[in-house]
């Protein structure tokens, strides 16, 4: 079984994100970038499927500018077999990424596509679902456990109020939630070996996709700074504050 894993280059989760002075975008100048944590979980799951003898090949794909090859290399160091970079400039929105991934799916014919449920930059939570609609493949989103059984894939999903188990026919799409697994460390030998693994580069045109945009970024601003807290005197004052200042009870 071939598994395709999507990985995205995002600002490292340890970095305190800042808006540019003119509010035009997030400031990415000299900022440490990393593989999106949910994508890392996706890679780990695919590699575990391979180690369990269920998957035969794991392909990591990333859409973006040239530097996102670094994140593909990370996926290769974590155990993916080869990489595909779809080179596209600028801010690419989820629908376009889903269309590009569909192009890769058609070329590679994977039995399983694993994506993060969202990326920690845009927090869109759309790409996996859109890819499902475009390819007509069944989807199991927010997965906290997956299991391949013959032609079926059982997915335990994290839904409001609990867990839901669904059974999908392969080929299928899965998006990962935090509890699916704990990604391993890429070891030094594997980092060195990753340099030698195959990495193919496609343009959107190779995949028959035109990069368009439906979204205009109007403004980026930091959240309002939190005011210092106070100690309330008694319960009456607390209730009063909750009612009249915070307006969370009436």
């Amino acid at each position: 079984m071939k598994v395709l894993v999507a990985v995205k280059r995002v600002v490292d989760y340890n970095v305190k994100v800042r808006a540019k002075g003119d509010g035009s975008d997030v400031d990415l100048n000299n900022v440490k970038m990393a593989i999106n944590p949910f994508c890392e979980i996706a890679v780990e799951e695919a590699v575990r499927l391979k180690e369990a003898g269920v998957a035969t090949e794991v392909i990591a794909v990333s859409v973006g500018e040239k530097p996102c090859q670094e994140q593909i290399r990370t996926a290769l160091a974590l155990g993916a077999d080869r990489g595909i970079h779809v080179e596209a400039e600028g801010r690419i929105e989820p629908l376009v990424i889903a269309k590009l991934l569909k192009g890769v799916v058609e070329k590679e014919q994977p039995q399983l596509v694993i994506l993060g449920k969202q990326s920690i930059d845009g927090d869109n939570n759309q790409t996996g679902q859109m890819l499902g609609a475009l390819t007509n493949m069944p989807q199991g989103t927010f997965a906290s456990e997956i299991k391949v059984e013959g032609e079926k894939l059982n997915v335990v999903r994290e839904v409001d109020g609990g867990l839901q188990t669904i059974s999908l026919s392969l080929p299928a799409i899965v998006t990962t939630d935090l509890r699916l697994n704990e990604p391993r460390y890429a070891s030094l030998p594997n980092i060195m070996k990753a340099k030698k693994k195959q990495l193919d580069v496609y343009s959107p045109a190779d995949l028959g996709v035109e990069v368009t945009s439906h979204i205009t970024l109007v403004r980026v601003e930091p959240p309002a700074e939190r005011q210092a807290g106070i100690k309330v005197e008694d319960v009456a004052q607390l209730v009063d504050k909750l009612k009249n200042e915070a307006k969370v009870i009436s």
Partner: protein
């Protein structure tokens, strides 16, 4: 430019994508597997045995060692080594890397000078974190004057009979083998040999040195040899050539220590700046008092100089043009830098710095072992003066 640990690092054009990939993974490993426990381990005076195999799995123990013995050497260069020392020093509990990485001084003699049989037997389990090796040079009678060491190994047929003792030996309590400097010949440097001594040999005993100023997490020991019989084929390198075996070890040890000390200085800078930006006295931030600002600038000045010097030395190692005198003085530059930065950071922290439980407070207590171990400042200056033909 931010003055945190990463922001205060000067750019290094030699570091590429896979160097940064190693830093990222190593930092993840350290942040998850070591940092949260560092203080407890240091207070307990011990690191758990399973840290070694974990460190082996991520490639830390094998970095730079031949692939044939379980290491990773292909395309590994000085920049990987520098990053590794930096990230280990960032823990801010020097006893942990001292003990975890002690094979860095114990194993090279075996790999560079030992027989193939010895390498096959010793290196793989050490690099896998299953067994441990230490380096035994220093004696109660002296450490700087290696050529005068007094532990004897007297030939008796196919064995040496070893008598004497070694002290301040890092990893000495846990070691399965000790690469030991012994006197096999006459007086002076030409009578010294290196011998691999297994710690399960009859007549070997050891006691821990627990009450140290710093490096609490590291198991430091005094070793005793009472008629210990060691087969002659356990010589590391030719008989009476041990002094050169020891000398070839020193450059890489000093580079590693210098890289670690610069990074420790940077930890001090990071913590001091964070505190100076937050703490207010006399109506303004500490960072707004000129006296404090100048302390910070002076720390950064010395850190910059040390970084540039480290880079220069690593470049010379990469091109095979290293000068041992320059490396010896780099070690002094680094120990003076960390001494200065630890002092100034402690000063900026004020009373809270005196309390246990911060990286700066520990680093302050670990300045001396770095300024003395691996060649003291005085010995380094003397060595350099000799190298320069003064």
């Amino acid at each position: 430019m931010p003055l945190d640990f990463d922001g205060a690092r000067l750019p290094n054009p030699h570091c590429g994508e896979e160097h940064e990939a190693w830093r990222t993974q190593l930092r993840r490993f350290i942040d998850n597997e070591i940092m949260p426990f560092a203080e407890d381990w240091d207070e307990a005076g011990e690191i758990p045995a399973d840290l070694w195999p974990k460190a082996a799995a991520v490639g830390l123990l094998g970095l730079g060692y031949p692939e044939a013995y379980g290491g990773t050497s292909e395309s590994i260069d000085s920049w990987h080594a520098w990053i590794t020392q930096e990230e280990l020093a960032r823990i801010g509990a020097g006893g942990i890397p001292a003990s975890l990485m002690v094979h860095g001084i114990g194993l090279p003699p075996v790999l560079n000078w030992g027989s193939e049989e010895m390498k096959q037997r010793v290196a793989p389990p050490v690099l896998a974190g299953e067994k441990h090796i230490a380096l035994g040079i220093t004696e109660p009678g002296g450490g700087s004057d290696v050529a005068s060491l007094a532990t004897t190994a007297v030939r008796d047929g196919d064995t040496f009979i070893v008598n004497g003792s070694k002290t301040y030996i890092t990893g000495g309590m846990r070691a399965n083998w000790v690469s030991t400097a012994v006197r096999t010949g006459g007086e002076g440097a030409k009578g010294v040999s290196m011998l691999l001594i297994p710690t399960d040999a009859e007549g070997f005993s050891r006691t821990p040195l627990t009450r140290k100023q710093g490096w609490w997490a590291s198991d430091t020991a005094t070793l005793y040899f009472d008629n210990v019989r060691v087969p002659v084929d356990q010589l590391i390198g030719p008989e009476n050539q041990g002094f050169w075996v020891i000398m070839t070890n020193f450059n890489s040890e000093r580079m590693a220590m210098a890289a670690g000390m610069e990074a420790m200085a940077r930890v001090c800078l990071e913590e001091a700046v964070a505190w100076a930006r937050e703490r207010r006295t006399f109506g303004k931030r500490l960072a707004d008092h000129q006296v404090i600002r100048h302390k910070i600038a002076q720390m950064k000045q010395k850190i910059n100089a040390t970084q540039a010097y480290i880079r220069l030395c690593y470049e010379s190692i990469e091109t095979g043009t290293a000068n041992p005198g320059d490396i010896a003085l780099l070690k002094v530059q680094a120990s003076e830098t960390v001494e200065f930065c630890a002092r100034e950071a402690m000063q900026i922290l004020g009373g809270i710095g005196f309390m246990r439980g911060s990286r700066v407070e520990r680093i302050y207590r670990e300045v001396r072992v770095n300024a003395i171990g691996g060649g003291s400042e005085e010995i380094m200056r003397d060595l350099a003066a000799r190298q320069y033909g003064v």
